[in-house]
């Protein structure tokens, strides 16, 4: 899987590249509008991470060019402007998703994985984690072919871990992913623990391995053997 990161902040671009390469993505980086244009013309990417506030041009123009060339690349817009207009016009122009800064890399990873799955693995709505199978179409999880009775939050949690497997996901990232802005109302993220405990229990009871590990109380990691 090949990604292009269009971001004029080198430090951020490096972080994204570093994080996503752990998930066997190949990442190209472009720091300018011109550089991105060149790379888009030369290569096909599975997904383009596009910062729309570039020094030498608007990322939305890049998106227009991309779509007028009938490239099938998936596009995830990254913007420092959390503005509805940017979001709407970006999605109208054919972007797949929109993420505003600052974001957690795990959130970015999940979004990218979702875009690639939707665009390229046609028919493959299934994610396999050893003996556990996530059916994204049916929004269900089964272990050894037996469907588990998961709550919506537990399902979202498992999917989030699956998209970020092998990497530590912070509690803050989980809270923001599952509860969005409402997570701000919490003094601590203890309530996440309850959901994770239940999810692990249900998976283990159904005969799956206990793959979700706690990392010193600051996050969790899905580790497959």
């Amino acid at each position: 899987m090949k990604l292009l990161i269009v971001e004029d902040e080198k430090a951020l671009s490096d972080s994204i590249s570093n994080y996503l390469e752990q998930e066997s993505f190949v990442c190209d980086q472009a720091e300018s509008y011109a550089g991105a244009l060149e790379k888009i013309e030369q290569h096909d990417y599975d997904c383009i991470l596009l910062d729309i506030n570039l020094q030498d041009g608007n990322g939305l123009e890049l998106l227009k060019t991309l779509k007028s060339n009938h490239k099938g690349d998936g596009v995830l817009i990254i913007s420092a402007r959390n503005s509805l207009e940017d979001k709407v016009s970006g999605l109208k122009l054919g972007a797949d998703d929109y993420l505003s800064k600052p974001f957690h890399l795990s959130e970015l990873g999940a979004r990218v994985a979702a875009i690639i799955r939707r665009r390229h693995a046609a028919g493959s709505n299934l994610i396999r984690l050893e003996e556990t199978l996530i059916d994204i179409q049916a929004r269900s999880v089964s272990v050894h072919g037996r469907v588990l009775d998961l709550t919506r939050k537990e399902y979202q949690l498992l999917l989030y871990f699956a998209y970020n497997k092998g990497r530590v996901v912070s509690k803050n990232a989980i809270a923001e992913h599952l509860w969005g802005d409402d997570s701000g109302g919490a003094d601590n993220y203890d309530f996440i623990y309850t959901h994770i405990k239940n999810l692990r229990r249900k998976l283990v009871e159904a005969g799956a391995g206990d793959y979700i590990q706690s990392v010193y109380g600051m996050g969790y990691k899905l580790m497959l053997p």
Binding site: S15, A80, P102, L105, S170, E176, G184, D190, T194
Partner: protein, 421 residues
């Protein structure tokens, strides 16, 4: 006092003073002239008597007419020739006492001295004086009246541009961006006033826009550095060599970044709401939105073991869906955040009223500032902007907003009827 009243008062007072002084002078001048004429007539009579005596060497017949009397009395010695004013009974007017002008002079007839007295009634003079003064008084009154009316009309018209400018300033609203409009005037003072006011309001508007743009830009510019820090932390926690003590520090950094992010978002949101950037409105069923929100916040509520009781009646509001969501979100998360463990929340909704009450510590700040920006209790990890956003939304929609503290319950009360005070 109005400028016109002030001006009129001074103007009319000065006019009256000038006219009174003038009238008194006028009276004396007229009187002097009339008396002088009377004296001329008396002197003509004197000349006639003297020439009569000179020709015939005898006194003429004393005369007693209505307008003129002549009498002679023998005298010891010649007296001074003089004019006098006397008031004496007038035989032609039932002996009423009336003013006369008399010329007294001496005449010698055959060695005998006589004192001749020629009198003329001042009646006609008085009459004339009276009429002249009456006409003058009438003129004065007429003049004053016309002066007053003319001033009134003139002032109204002349000051029109001034009042227009004043009205414009009174209605000046920074947020609405409406420039002050003028009808051009030919009066230089008012024109420069208008120009100055226009320049000033334009400048204020520009400064205001710049300030807003600054807040907006500053918040936006902070997003990228925050994203960098956040991404580096996300990478750092992947490091297997980290020890638990490091992770605690990293957690503190995460939490700080979360707060910064929320602070930034809240500031941006506040600006956007203030700028009326959420125009699209739709009917919102508040009761079902409350139920939905409570569902979303279930984990937070359970985590603190808070008992929630609701009394929801249907309530339809015409407002922006996103803002209604933010409104309830902020109110409810506040009620949870500032609650005790095992505390309680009561939500009451009527067609025109929303009451959200929660138990919790007494406020550590002045309750009147509760809706101000960055008002929060010392130990709160919130942004201090939640209720400021609530107020901004309420202001935009003309809702009334109040905080009530009763028997340990903190209540936020929102009245949806804009008629309510």
């Amino acid at each position: 006092m109005k400028l016109f009243t002030h001006y009129s008062r001074i103007n009319i007072l000065a006019s009256v003073l000038a006219l009174v002084v003038g009238s008194i002078g006028y009276y004396f001048i007229i009187r002097t002239i009339l008396i002088h004429q009377l004296d001329d007539t008396l002197e003509v009579e004197e000349a006639e008597i003297l020439s009569h005596v000179g020709l015939k060497d005898q006194l003429p017949e004393p005369a007693n007419y209505r307008d003129q009397q002549i009498s002679f009395t023998p005298a010891q010695a010649p007296g001074d020739r003089r004019f006098i004013n006397i008031i004496r009974p007038d035989s032609f007017y039932h002996n009423e006492r009336r003013p006369f002008r008399q010329l007294i002079f001496s005449v010698r007839v055959g060695g005998q001295m006589y004192t001749a007295t020629v009198s003329k009634s001042e009646e006609e003079t008085k009459e004339l004086e009276k009429w002249i003064m009456l006409v003058t008084a009438g003129m004065i009154l007429l003049l004053l009246g016309i002066l007053y009316l003319a001033n009134r009309l003139l002032m109204r018209r002349l000051w029109q541009p001034f009042y227009q400018t004043l009205e414009g300033l009174r209605g000046f609203n920074l947020a609405s961006h409406d420039p002050l409009t003028y009808t051009p005037t030919s009066i230089r003072e008012f024109r420069s006033l208008q120009q100055v006011v226009e320049q000033m309001t334009r400048q204020i508007g520009r400064d205001y826009e710049m300030l807003k743009a600054f807040a907006d830009n500053a918040s936006h510019e902070m997003q990228t550095p925050l994203a960098i820090i956040n991404s580096k932390l996300d990478l750092m926690i992947q490091d297997q060599g980290l020890e638990e003590r490091h992770l605690h520090q990293l957690q503190a950094m995460y939490d700080a970044i979360s707060r910064l992010r929320q602070l930034n978002q809240s500031l941006l949101l506040l600006t956007k709401i203030g700028n009326y950037q959420f125009q699209q409105e739709e009917p919102v069923a508040l009761e079902s939105l409350i139920e939905k929100k409570l569902g979303q916040l279930e984990d937070l509520i359970k985590d603190k073991h808070i008992a929630v009781s609701t009394d929801l009646q249907p309530c339809r509001l015409q407002m922006n869906a996103y803002l209604s969501d933010i409104l309830l979100s902020n109110l409810l998360t506040n009620a949870i955040r500032h609650n005790y463990d095992k505390g309680a929340i009561r939500i009451g909704l009527k067609q025109d009223l929303l009451l959200i009450s929660n138990t919790g510590e007494p406020l550590s700040f002045d309750p009147t500032t509760i809706f101000d920006r960055f008002t929060k209790s010392a130990h709160s990890e919130g942004t201090g902007l939640g209720l400021a956003i609530v107020r901004q939304i309420c202001d935009n929609y003309g809702f009334s907003l109040a905080y009530i503290n009763e028997e340990g319950w903190h209540t936020i009360r929102i009245g949806f009827s804009s008629l309510e005070v």
